[in-house]
Amino acid sequence: MIEFKNVSLVYPNGTIGLQNASAHISKGEFAFLVGQTGSGKSSFLKLINREVLPTTGEVFVNNQLTSEIRLQQVPLLRRHIGVIFQDFKLLMHKTIFENVAYVLEVTGVPAKQIPAKVSEALKLVNLWDKEDSFPEQLSGGEQQRASIARALVNHPLILLADEPTGNLDPDTSWDIMQILMKANSRGTTVIVATHNKTIVDMMRKRVIGLSGGRIAFDRERSGYLPADLEMAAREV
């Protein structure tokens, strides 16, 4: 499903986002992406969504080499990927309903089916009562949930969640993790970049650890490894 082959990402200003990272995530897998702030988690996800292209190395998504996808085809790729952005990236001039509906309109879902699907997604994240609000009228956590609803609404093949619980209380965080699990159990490949130690520890899923842009460790059924262990892992 997703494969990184010796991927390095150097941003235009020279900052290293990712360094020689290789990893393979199969269809239907559930993986956590952990690591200190600035360690390259978001960069990892951006490479999958083709928001950036690798400087060297190859990224395959759905058996396609992202750097070879024709420009016109990029939207098609993205429609199979739901992204919960770390900074939400909601459209400020659209209501919550319209924000979620947008990804359906983009894919040409018939207008009649849209309201039902949007309501379903908003109910899932417990936000149906805010559907007519604009993002600026929501609390941080509500905006985050709107972003989650948008990522889920068209049942993508791949779900990229970048710090999806950063603005949510523990209970709501758990609810969201349940939702991601459920999507996963229906076959969606889920990658969650997170700092939430509690959740990673409890879920015992695959954990990919990043440190300074390198993959420091990659373990099945792991917990959130502390920084020094990461370091140790990197030395190896």
């Binding site: 939207p75 993205r78 952005f85 459209l91 400020m92 001039h93 894919t107 207008a111």
Partner: protein, 291 residues
């Protein structure tokens, strides 16, 4: 592709960004008003100069010994010339009467034993630009003592006419370019203010055309909503202005408002709509990420 969706988008966006849209729409209005005024001014100036040029005429003074029969033949010959629009015979007597009228009491009739003025033809041409050539041709006519067409003033008027035509075209072209430039810039700024949105739309999988169309339609709407009041304003002002101007300056001809109606309407509306749409297209493309 769902046109209803795009239209709803556009209406909603116009409504939600009222301040921004008012700024850009009114800019379109103002700049197309200026364009419209230039257009009217140029059309009228051309019309005016044309009127003056149309008054140019060739006068053939005849020798005194030319017989009435010869005069008749000459009349027919001139009339037959395809360049000639109109020809009138002015007898010695009429010429004197005219001169007396013109100079009023200055010439004491009793001082003059005989009419010193010759017979003449006054000829108007279909196209005054050819006046010199035609005059030359008429000189060869038997019986013509002298052919005059106000060489001096005719040349002045004709070059003025030419200058007004070229200058008018230039002015309209220039103001059209200015209008286009201003509208495109304005639309670009409105798109610039929404560049983050464009980026987000791309990130959630919207195709290029799907992002572009609402912006283009919005540009078209801004152009239309801007140009329409401009047209109404300019046309109404002209409608009110012409009778007053004709009253105050009765000797200057003005094009009747109905004569400029369609010209004005199409120039302003197409400018607004086409440039609005095109400007939006160009601007969106600038922020669409082609990497």
């Amino acid at each position: 592709m769902n046109p209803v969706y795009f239209f709803r988008e556009v209406i909603t966006n116009l409504r939600r960004n009222v301040l921004m849209n008012l700024a850009s729409i009114s800019t379109v209005t103002v700049s197309t008003i200026v364009l419209g005024l230039f257009l009217i001014a140029t059309l009228n100036l051309g019309f005016w100069v044309q009127k003056i040029v149309d008054q140019l005429q060739i006068v053939i003074y005849l020798k005194d010994d030319v017989s009435q029969e010869q005069i008749n033949r000459l009349y027919d010959a001139i009339k037959a010339n395809p360049q000639v629009k109109d020809v009138e015979f002015i007898s010695k007597q009429n010429a004197l009467k005219r001169l007396q009228e013109k100079l009023k009491i200055l010439i004491r009739m009793n001082d003059m034993p005989e009419n010193p003025l010759p017979n003449s033809f006054e000829i108007k041409l279909k196209n005054s630009a050819n006046i010199a050539a035609v005059a030359k041709e008429l000189e060869t006519f038997p019986g013509a003592e002298n052919v005059k067409y106000g060489q001096n003033i005719a040349q002045k008027l004709l070059s003025l006419h030419q200058a007004v035509r070229i200058g008018g075209l230039l002015v309209v072209a220039l103001s059209l370019i200015c209008t286009i430039f201003i509208i495109v810039n304005t639309i670009r700024l409105t798109v610039y203010a929404r560049r983050r949105e464009i980026r987000i739309m791309q990130l959630v999988g919207a195709a290029f055309w799907f992002i572009r169309w609402p912006f283009i339609l919005e540009g078209i709407m801004q152009g239309l909503l801007g140009a329409l009041p401009a047209f109404v304003l300019v046309y109404l002002s002209y409608l009110l202005f012409v009778p007053r101007a004709l009253h105050a300056l009765p000797f200057i001809p003005f094009l009747p408002p109905s004569g400029i109606l369609y010209y004005l309407l199409w120039t302003l509306l197409t400018t607004g709509i086409v440039i609005g749409g095109l400007g939006a297209f160009i601007s969106v493309n600038k922020y669409l990420n082609y990497e």
